[in-house]
Point group: C2
Chain length 338, copies 2
């Protein structure tokens, strides 16, 4: 099986991207890589690494889609961009099971939606990153920005897809699925919540009701469903607050002589903390609901994150995730289309 | 002038509420208090405090509206509740300039909306709490949960009202007003953002564009505008993440012998940090746009928070906030009603 990699997207492209891909290759004997990007740069990077030449293909696609470009325009018009070419390969080659990119989120979503297309029955694919919880597990947020204005059916599909993904990705039966809301009581929320709540109750998932934003990392929920706007606000404000607090802790320590002295003994403890709550150390976010597997790695991904993203694509393929999603939506169809 | 106080709402009612009110009275010679609640309890609390008897009135209103009750029903049906009675007094007595309550947010919003009514021209009043920023100032979020589904005109009014409030409350000319969005680029967002963005540009405020949720405490913004659902998610996820991080820092320290030992020297630094980011230490959130001044104090308010809330009502009255809001909306009318 093959995985196609966009080597130009991300802050540490191309070397860290290529290094991560090569590291993944070493672990999977049946994995071939297709690296899209600037040929000479890729060759140069590979020259510094040990890898199996028979299982690597380089495809010239020297243009980069930046984060500032309008995704729909860029994907269509930048035909020689690493991402557009990677999507073309993903679409045409049946042996290619998935794509990994640390590039423009918007362009990845557009590429997945327009070039690869949706799994049968899926109204909207969803981007769903996960966050660490204080109990040690992970919580998935679907959707986090792929879909701005959503209908109730979209949120039901997010729930069904994320539920299947969580089961396979984290090996947990009956993940606890919640609806993001302004309070936990059943009657809370905006019009969308009012419409979605009773539909969620009908789905064949472990729907545990509404969740308040402050409890996202409580460890009491596995999957949280929201429209892409609210999900994005949830994710980014959490990320922002964690970052600020880490900075403030450092500042507090530095402001006091004894604290500064004492902090030497605490470096290890703080390092662990930083690792747990550093979003960049995780693989990436799946873009669920497309006909092939797509992982959006964080823009600041280093080799490890890319390696983990490729691992994940192989795992999800082996577990037939997309087939499970199709079946879950097919079986739920009657109940949620009112 | 008089301020009416709901003595039954809040975790530390009635004593801390009454103590805070009495402390405010001491600072303002022309301030009279009307305390609504259980007469005997109020008298008992007052017995423990020093205060000017000629400027305190006790009104019997022994019922409590709890957070679990449906606000619209409770405010209508619990006629002898401390909050409903307080609103009746606020409405009828021209000398009463404002109301402070640490009780049910929903009931306070309902009471303000239904019993007091809106300032002329205001489409929807807004609840707008403020958060500390890492640069030492404050950022106001309007709306934070009073209005779930909003139209563009509502967000424009939030901006105009919060802008006037910020100027008077924090003494800052031209507060930087931003729109909560999923990215900073002008074209980002959901339908509501697309409609609101050009309207904001037309308003006579210092509109600085879109803000991402992760930058809420950056200190680069003074006022952030959102519909009540997204604003609520923004506020609560920030609050939740800060709390978790404080807990994790403590846990990290405890897990290591040397760190535990060293932490003794750092207690002062952490205490300062906790104080800065403890939302409960601030006064309360104004419910802007009603004909009289209403402050919702945090549920866990102690005396200081109540005192500050009363101070604020006096300040805002002296600065003619409601008149300024009416004028701001009147002057902007032509531009924003398309």
């Amino acid at each position: 099986m093959k995985v196609v990699i966009d080597t130009l997207g991300g802050d540490y492209a191309p070397f860290e991207i290529i290094k991560g891909a090569v590291n993944a290759q070493k672990k999977h004997d049946d994995l071939s890589l297709i690296l899209c990007g600037k040929e000479d740069e890729i060759s140069e990077c590979l020259g510094k690494l040990k890898y199996d030449k028979t299982r690597i293909e380089i495809v010239s696609a020297p243009d980069l889609i930046s984060n500032d470009e309008i995704p729909t325009v860029a994907i269509r018009e930048k035909k020689n961009s690493s991402l557009a070419v990677a999507f073309d390969i993903l679409k045409k080659d049946d042996d290619v099971i998935g794509l990994v990119s640390a590039g423009s989120t918007g362009a990845i979503l557009t590429g997945g939606f327009l070039k690869i297309g949706r799994i049968k029955g899926v109204s909207r694919p969803t981007l769903c990153p996960f966050l660490p919880t204080k109990k040690g597990g992970y919580v998935l947020v679907a959707d986090c920005g792929a879909n701005m204005d959503c209908k109730p059916i979209n949120l039901c599909h997010f729930a069904l897809m994320a539920n299947e993904y969580y089961k396979e990705r984290f090996g947990k039966e009956n993940p606890r699925v919640a609806l993001l809301n302004v309070g936990t009581e059943n009657h809370k929320g905006n019009d969308l919540c009012h419409q979605v709540f009773p539909l969620m109750q009908q789905l064949d998932i472990n729907f545990v009701g509404n969740m308040e934003a402050r409890d996202i990392m409580s460890g009491d929920y596995d999957v949280v469903i929201a429209d892409g706007f609210a999900g994005n606000v949830l994710l980014k404000s959490t990320e922002g607050a964690l970052k600020i607090m880490m900075g403030e802790v450092k500042k507090s320590i530095k402001s006091n002589f004894f604290a500064r002295l004492a902090s030497v003994f605490m470096l290890g403890a703080f390092k662990n903390l930083k690792k747990t709550y550093d979003f960049n150390s995780y693989g990436g976010s799946p873009f669920l609901g497309c006909k092939k597997l797509i992982i959006k790695s964080h823009g600041s991904s280093k080799a490890k994150a890319i390696e983990v993203s490729i691992d994940e694509i192989i795992t999800l393929k082996n577990k037939n995730l997309n087939y499970r999603i199709e079946k879950a939506i097919e079986n739920a169809k009657i109940n949620i289309e009112e």
